[in-house]
Every structure is written in C-alpha cells, then in structure tokens.
C-alpha cells in the first residue's frame, strides 16, 4: 500500500537564504551534475577509444558547415552545458575540500564558514571562466558546425 503524498508546509519562500544554505544545496546539485558528467566522460572514452571498430559509420568526416539558426542554437546549448559542467567540477572540488576541513575540525566558526562559502562560489566561477577561455582557444574543432 503506497503512502499518499501529504502536503508539506512552505519552506523555500519562508526561510532566509544564506551563503551556507546556498552552498550546501549547490554541493548536492553539482554532485548530481558531476555524476552525469562522469557517465558522459566514460561514454566519450569508450566512443573515441573504440572508434576503429565503428569507423564504418564515418559521420565524423562528413561535418557539414551550415550557417543557419539551428547551428547557433546547438552551439550555445553545447557552450551552456560545458560551462555548467566546468563550474560544477570546480565548485564540488572546492566545497568538498571545505567539508573535509570540517571533518578535521577546522573552519566551524560562523564568520569563517560564511567567508569560505562566498569565496568558494567566486573562485569556482573564476576558474570555470578561465578554463572555458583556455579550452575555447583550442576547441573550435568541436564547435565548428
């Protein structure tokens, strides 16, 4: 017998957002995104590693260059996905180190924890932007639709 979904009281509109709470939910959300990214990385390794077995498909050579609206839409979507994954990577790494520091016993004081949360969010964004610029300088191979 399944339980029915009983109504819950509102919480997201009521309680005040703080850097610590945003940091905690972002850690969980970036963790989910990173799991998807790891599966995608595994698929890419398997795909490009066994390309000799499936090279009869050979659509890789037939990249056509079409200057229509759909290609720009695809390009921006791929850009958005890559930016989101890069940010998730850096944010989860830095926030994970913060969690491990808590396990050792450092960084519990309220002002230090709040400063660290904001610092990690900014540092993750900065590193993500730097990585995207670095890859974009070389990655025109992929985004050349």
């Amino acid at each position: 017998m399944t339980k029915k979904n009983l109504p819950t009281s509102p919480h997201l509109q009521i309680y005040r957002w703080s850097p610590a709470s945003i940091g905690s939910i972002m850690h969980r959300f970036t963790g989910i995104m990173l799991y998807i990214l790891t599966i995608l990385t595994a698929i890419m390794i398997i795909f490009y590693g066994n390309i000799s077995d499936i090279s009869s498909i050979s659509y890789i050579d037939k990249r056509q260059h079409c200057e229509c609206f759909l290609t720009y839409l695809i390009k921006f979507t791929i850009y958005g996905i890559v930016v989101a994954f890069t940010f998730s990577l850096y944010y989860h790494l830095l926030n994970g180190i913060r969690h491990l520091m808590w396990d050792i016993g450092k960084g519990f004081e309220k002002n230090i924890a709040k400063k660290n949360a904001i610092l990690i969010m900014l540092l993750a964004m900065v590193l993500a932007v730097l990585t995207i610029l670095f890859i974009d300088y070389f990655l025109s191979f992929y985004l050349k639709y």
């Binding site: 990173l34 595994a42 890419m44 398997i46 490009y48 590693g49 191979f141």
Partner: protein, 121 residues
Amino acid sequence: MQKNHSSHQGFTHWMQQKITAIALVPLLMWFILSLLQIAQDPIIYMPIFFSYWFNATMAILFINIALYHGSIGLQVIFEDYIKDKSLRLFYSNLVRFSSVFFGIATTITVIKLYIQNKLGI
C-alpha cells in the same frame, strides 16, 4: 570479530564516502589537466595520451572511484527525497548497475588503448 548490529551500514558508507573524496581530490586535478590536453582533438590525442602507463592508471582509478563515490552519494540523495521504499531501491540499484557497467567498459577500453599503443598497432 564484532559485527555491527545496525540495520543499515551507516558509518561504513560515510567513511567510504570520505575516503573516496580524499582520493578524488588529486584524481580530479589530474582529470582537469588531462581534459585540457585531450579536448583539443580527441580522435588524435586520445591514443597518444593513453600510451603512457601513468595516464592509463589514473584514468581507470578516476572513473571507477568517481562512479563509486557518486553512486553512494546518490543513494543518500534518494533516501532523502524518495519515500517509497521499492522505488528508492530501484533507483539506487539502477545507479549502482550503471556505475559498474561504465566502470568496466571504460577500464577495458583504456587497457585496450594502452596495449595497442605499446605494441604499436
């Protein structure tokens, strides 16, 4: 040898999550650097990259430990948000099976690339 008497393995899951997290910190840094190298042209660079034993070892370790850490973490998330027990077990095992599948498939592909490039095929 004392067995733990709880119905769920609370402490061991937490400890495994922390230890895999510690292992993943250097592995993730290696992964970012290797992505920056390979992303320029994967078809050309991936066989060259995996002809070094260090890269092959780190790749196998990274994929398997990351998928294990992720499957344990996702199990915790499912326990928080899904109340129906059979549905929760279904999603937990779905994540677990896909982790094992992609872990084995990536390991086999990386070993194949390493051996092929060492033999010069």
